[in-house]
């Protein structure tokens, strides 16, 4: 049995850890509330954007537009949104696994655009081509950042350097459920099921365009891509804090469990030492008498 002193030391060290995890949990709870509020505020914009673009694509379904057909190149650009800091449970590894464990993708064909330091670390370690990395964006996403990134990607898509653009992020469903998601940005894919159910609902509304179809797409699709990236950033930030809150909650309750276990052991050891002392004294007294 470990000595009383050892147990005591271990207990106080775990108590220290518990205080840290508790504090981190509180911090991420507050951050989560803020991130969730802003994710919800901007959600209307993205649903509207998504609906409109879907609507347009349904109507011009057979148009031959560069943004709607895969490029020549076999290279794929993947935007991966992770966090800058760890201690968020499986949050980061779940997103990176989407890319590293993808059944069809080959390491050589991928250009990784990392948002978040943790993702960059993983990809660099595994020998992926990390083209670009911007860690400051994820702290507090701004629309202009998303616009700059999407402009850059669309440019290399137009130049034929990359054939497809993907986005890997963590969708925020609610506080406890975060879904790692892989989404194809370009060529735009129309969600057939959603398009149909929507189409039947608004069959009467036929959209007209003032600008030419192709021209409208030229202008709309960059906005669409940008807003998807921005929306993904917002959701990922909310998910990150949600994941961290959960992880820290678990850590706190685990620490609680260990502490109560150690307390029991400590008391037992204390009782044991008292009993032993008593036995020794009695034995000594008997030997004298």
């Amino acid at each position: 049995m470990a000595s009383m002193r050892d147990i005591k030391r271990r207990k106080s060290s775990i108590q220290g850890t518990q205080q840290i995890t508790k504090a981190m949990k509180l911090v991420s709870t507050v951050k989560l509330q803020r991130a969730r509020a802003s994710a919800e505020r901007s959600k209307g914009y993205f649903t509207c954007m998504y609906d409109t673009v879907n609507n347009i694509l349904q109507r011009v379904g057979h148009i031959d537009h560069p943004y709607l057909t895969p490029g020549e190149s076999r290279r794929k650009a993947v935007i991966v949104i992770t966090s800058n800091r760890g201690l968020a449970g499986g949050y980061n590894s779940n997103v990176t696994k989407l890319v590293t464990r993808h059944p069809q993708w080959k390491k050589e064909d991928l250009d990784i655009y990392c948002l978040g330091n943790k993702g960059r670390e993983t990809f660099v370690r595994n020998g992926y081509a990390v083209k670009e990395c911007d860690n400051d964006i994820v702290e507090s996403p701004v629309y202009a950042d998303a616009a700059a990134l999407s402009a850059k990607l669309l440019e290399s898509f137009a130049a034929g350097e990359i054939g497809e653009i993907y986005l890997a992020y963590t969708g925020f469903k609610n506080t406890v459920s975060h879904v790692p998601t892989l989404l194809r940005l370009l060529p735009v894919e129309v969600d057939a099921a959603a398009a149909q159910s929507e189409g039947s609902g608004e069959a009467t509304a036929i959209m007209n365009f003032e600008a030419e179809d192709t021209e409208a797409l030229d202008l709309l699709i960059p906005k669409y891509v940008t807003s998807l990236i921005y929306g993904a950033l917002r959701e990922s930030v909310a998910s990150e804090n949600g994941a961290r809150m959960q992880a820290m909650d678990n850590a706190t309750s685990n620490a609680e469990e260990i502490i109560s276990d150690l307390t029991l052991k400590y008391n037992r050891a204390r009782q044991g030492s008292i009993t032993q002392e008593l036995t020794e004294i009695i034995a000594g007294a008997e030997a004298l008498g």
């Binding site: 901007s42 914009y45 954007m49 959209m207």
Partner: protein, 134 residues
């Protein structure tokens, strides 16, 4: 159209719902020129160019500087997805003025590497900001 209370107008930006109310008419600048939209308009999608947005409500008129985005017009309402839009109170006049001067100089300078389209958009934005303040 005979509706007394006008039609719902929603203006959404990536960060907030900018405006949501009943209006009689909205006017703004598009790639095809300035348009005014009344209730019962045919369904149409237009791309926004920098300009002033007027919202005519029954109680009066509201102005805002609308810079980029697109609008979805339906007979029963208008939704403007704006990337950038500002109420007059949110505009810094001095900044807008210096931006206008900068853009004008760039256009007149005609340096070989000037991105003319970008400079023109910047100018339009600055002009819209200044006009909306007047």
């Amino acid at each position: 159209m005979a509706e007394k209370s006008g039609f719902p107008v929603r203006i959404i930006t990536p960060d907030r719902v900018f405006y949501e109310n009943q209006a009689d008419m909205v006017e703004f600048n598009t790639t095809e020129g300035e348009i005014g939209v009344l209730p019962g308009h045919i369904p149409m999608t237009v791309i926004v160019r920098p300009g002033i947005l007027y919202i005519h409500e029954t109680e009066g008129e509201k102005k805002a500087a609308l810079h980029a985005g697109f609008a979805e017009i339906l007979p029963e309402g208008v939704t403007i997805l704006a990337e950038t839009i500002e109420w007059p109170g949110e505009i810094d006049e001095n900044r807008a003025k210096s931006a206008m001067e900068r853009a004008e100089r760039r256009i007149q300078g005609k340096a070989a590497n000037t991105d003319l389209a970008r400079a023109e958009t910047a100018l339009q934005r600055a002009v819209a900001r200044i006009q909306v303040l007047k």
